[in-house]
């Protein structure tokens, strides 16, 4: 337990170290999630358009 | 050469008819510079410490204001397409417009700046160097500005975007313009800084019109 509190205290620099790590983790995770959602949204839209395309082709023939 | 002068003349006449680009730039410069003593306090020593910086930054912003319209009206009414097709190379067209822009904004500032500097209690040793630094620096600002104006012509929110793009690029000119004055006031002449400003101008004269013309061609494609 002592070593855990020691670890969290970061030699007195906790107020600087943990926010820095949190910012790094937060930014990188946020960017990753946003990029994934961007890709998924496009994939869904393309699938929808592809589905419409087939339906149209069917009705026109 | 004749076509070049024609374009410069056209720019000046249009500006005259549309009522005073020159006046507006100088007016903004004076008002903005006047805000600093009002914001910071009239203490003479403090003002004279920041006078060079205040004059240069507000001059820079004044030049920036006029740049928005460098290509915009011509783009909107189709003149830009015609200019791109003219026998005069587009690079020279850009250079002509930069010259006109400078005559309308930078050159009047050369007169207003020393006056404002005196009001901001700049030491007299700095005044001549200030004018010299602005003589070398403001044309560079117009030239670099033409690149930004060409990139953002026809863009949404073009004015704000132009500032965002240009202000980082203006930093070297600003630094050496102010340093020249500070060095002169400190008794060390300021010549090296003026030489560097001259080098910036010499580099900008061929490079900026080339980059701006490339950007303009993308706009009229």
């Amino acid at each position: 337990m002592e070593t855990l509190t020691q670890f969290l205290a970061m030699g007195g620099y906790a107020a600087f170290v943990w926010p820095a790590l949190a910012i790094a983790a937060g930014v990188m995770t946020g960017l990753l999630i946003q990029s994934l959602r961007f890709l998924r949204a496009r994939e869904k839209e393309l699938a929808k358009l592809g589905g419409d395309n087939d339906a149209r082709r069917g009705s026109r023939s | 050469m004749r076509r070049f002068i024609l374009i410069v003349g056209r720019e000046l006449r249009l500006a005259y008819r549309q009522g005073g680009d020159a006046g507006l730039a100088v007016a903004f410069f004076v008002i903005a510079a006047a805000l600093f003593p009002l914001g910071i306090g009239p203490e003479e020593q403090l003002l004279s410490r920041i006078a060079a910086g205040v004059v240069w930054v507000t001059a820079l912003l004044a030049v920036l204001l006029a740049l928005e319209r460098l290509f915009q009206t011509d783009f909107e009414d189709g003149t830009l397409d015609l200019l791109a097709l003219s026998p005069l190379p587009l690079e020279l067209v850009v250079l002509a417009k930069c010259l006109a822009n400078w005559l309308l904004t930078g050159a009047p500032l050369l007169i207003a700046a020393p006056i404002i500097a005196v009001l901001l209690h700049m030491k007299t040793e700095g005044l001549v160097i200030l004018t010299a630094s602005m003589l070398l620096g403001t044309p560079t600002l117009s030239l670099i500005g033409s690149i930004g104006a060409a990139l953002t012509v026809g863009a949404r929110r073009g004015g704000v975007l132009l500032s965002l793009l240009l202000l980082p690029l203006y930093v070297p000119v600003l630094i050496f313009g102010v340093s020249a004055v500070d060095q002169a006031v400190a008794g060390m002449g300021g010549k090296p800084e003026l030489l560097i400003l001259g080098a910036f101008l010499a580099a900008a004269l061929p490079l900026a019109p080339w980059a701006a013309a490339a950007a303009l061609r993308q706009a009229v494609e």
Partner: protein, 250 residues
């Protein structure tokens, strides 16, 4: 459809690379963090605050590295008009902006305990700040036009202009600093870095690079799909017009 020939190959190759990149990123970052937080010593002078260096320095490296990539792809886009170059540039600048923001924020948090100040206007920090503005300007320019290809070409020119200006800005600020601040020299991580500290540093750098590849692939794939969607939509509109026009005349 030959326009999509290259992009199709990219989509296939990237689908193969992506899982490897994800694995490598997770591996390197996990081991890097282990070494950074547990298996490396505190600094002689900075104590535990040196641990910030392990997230700060790699992000600063990436911020510059991505800008180099951005300048390169912009040059390729303008000179050789490679179809993927604009896609890559568009995908890269948000990543570079994020790394630059991380570098600035973590650097500030590292600077306060180390040098007693949140910020200092020296050449390196000022240049990184301006790099951040360049990224933002690039992203803004990309989205500033109705015609997106105009935005891409303008942004490519901006990226190159910025690449030339960044060293000039760095040098100018350095000159200015020698006039105003003859004394202090800020060395990142002290005069020499202990080899025990190099390990987590390089692990994190490798991890960040693999992460960059992951996010770049995701964003490029998304952008390519967005283009496909646009083309299909355009074809729809012109096809429908063609259809209704022929129906009107028949």
């Amino acid at each position: 459809m030959h326009r999509f020939a290259n992009p199709a190959r990219f989509l296939r190759i990237s689908a193969v690379i992506l899982p490897w990149a994800v694995g490598l990123a997770a591996l390197f970052i996990a081991t890097g963090l282990y070494f950074a937080l547990f298996a490396s010593p505190p600094d002689y002078q900075q104590g535990e605050s040196v641990r910030i260096m392990y997230v700060h320095v790699p992000s600063a490296w990436m911020a510059s590295f991505v800008y180099g990539g951005l300048a390169l792809t912009s040059a390729i886009a303008l000179v050789w008009k490679h179809p993927l170059a604009h896609v890559a540039a568009k995908a890269m600048s948000p990543i570079g902006a994020c790394f630059t923001f991380m570098a600035l924020a973590t650097g500030s948090l590292w600077g306060k305990p180390m040098w007693g100040t949140w910020w200092v206007w020296d050449a390196r920090l000022t240049s990184v700040l301006i790099l951040f503005f360049l990224y933002l300007g690039h992203m803004a320019l990309l989205n500033a036009f109705e015609d997106s290809s105009r935005g891409e070409r303008a942004a490519a020119v901006l990226a190159l202009v910025g690449a030339i200006n960044l060293p000039i800005i760095h040098w100018s600020v350095e000159w200015w600093n020698t006039l105003h601040q003859p004394a202090s020299i800020f060395r990142m991580g002290g005069p020499t870095i202990d080899s025990a500290m190099l390990i987590p540093l390089f692990l994190m750098a490798l991890g960040y690079t693999a992460y960059f590849v992951v996010v770049l692939i995701l964003r490029m794939r998304g952008e390519l799909l967005a283009r496909k969607i646009r083309v299909i939509r355009m074809a729809r509109v012109t096809g429908a017009e063609h259809l209704s026009a022929s129906r009107a005349t028949s």
